[in-house]
Symmetry: C2
Subunit: 136 residues, 2 copies
């Protein structure tokens, strides 16, 4: 047995309004739903990117019908978005034009470019080509 | 502009051998590569699940050619895997049979079942149906 795929990717941020603005307006993700003070959820293709305030979700749910387990990590996490070579060049221009610092920009030995930057919470974000993982 | 999709999902664990055994042997993920003491990388469909020791990756890379930025979160993160209803029932049996505690198991109001359990590092893992997000 193996999972069919990944459905939810998670990052944490204590300033959810800043995260909402960044992921929606800077990265163009589709805002799916939000619960102010707890989370903001985005759709990215057939996956969900969920951003939680860890100070809230570290406390277990008190709902008996929806007993969602506690989670919540502190410190910078990481998510990588997929883009082709032209897309990475375009994202580089867009981020640079908006004053977002490109923290790193390099080619991997196996081929493929990655660019790295930070979200407002300090999470490390990346755009990379599929081929850095031998995927097509 | 919007990202083409998500390429890498990340969790953190300080016991990488335990993580390797759990994700490979219990969840059946394809081991892609590892660097003992730093990370273990899995492929899951067209995404990568990357598991890092945050005590190591919180230190920036010293490589001038591959200046991978520092990241590394502490505390329980979360990832959800995709499964259909029959798959979730099968995973429930498999996890239960292996002595992995199912921490929560419920139907969402909008339809769709989720089961939750923990990896050896305490990260919250979930199997859920696509329809909990209105996806098909």
């Amino acid at each position: 047995m193996t999972p069919d795929g990944i459905l939810e990717t998670v990052l944490y941020a204590d300033d959810l309004p800043a995260a909402k603005t960044f992921y929606r307006d800077m990265l163009g993700l589709e805002l799916y739903s939000e619960e102010p003070g707890r989370h903001v959820f985005f759709r990215c293709g057939d996956l969900m990117l969920l951003i939680f305030d860890p100070g809230v979700t570290q406390t277990p749910s008190s709902s008996s019908s929806l007993p969602v387990p506690a989670h919540g990590a502190l410190g910078p996490g990481h998510v990588c978005f997929r883009a082709d070579a032209a897309g990475i060049a375009a994202w580089c221009d867009r981020l640079h034009g908006a004053g977002v610092d490109i923290e790193a920009d390099f080619e991997w030995p196996q081929g493929g470019r990655s660019i790295y930057f930070r979200d407002p919470a300090g999470n490390s974000l990346e755009f990379a080509e599929l081929r850095i993982w031998g995927l097509q």
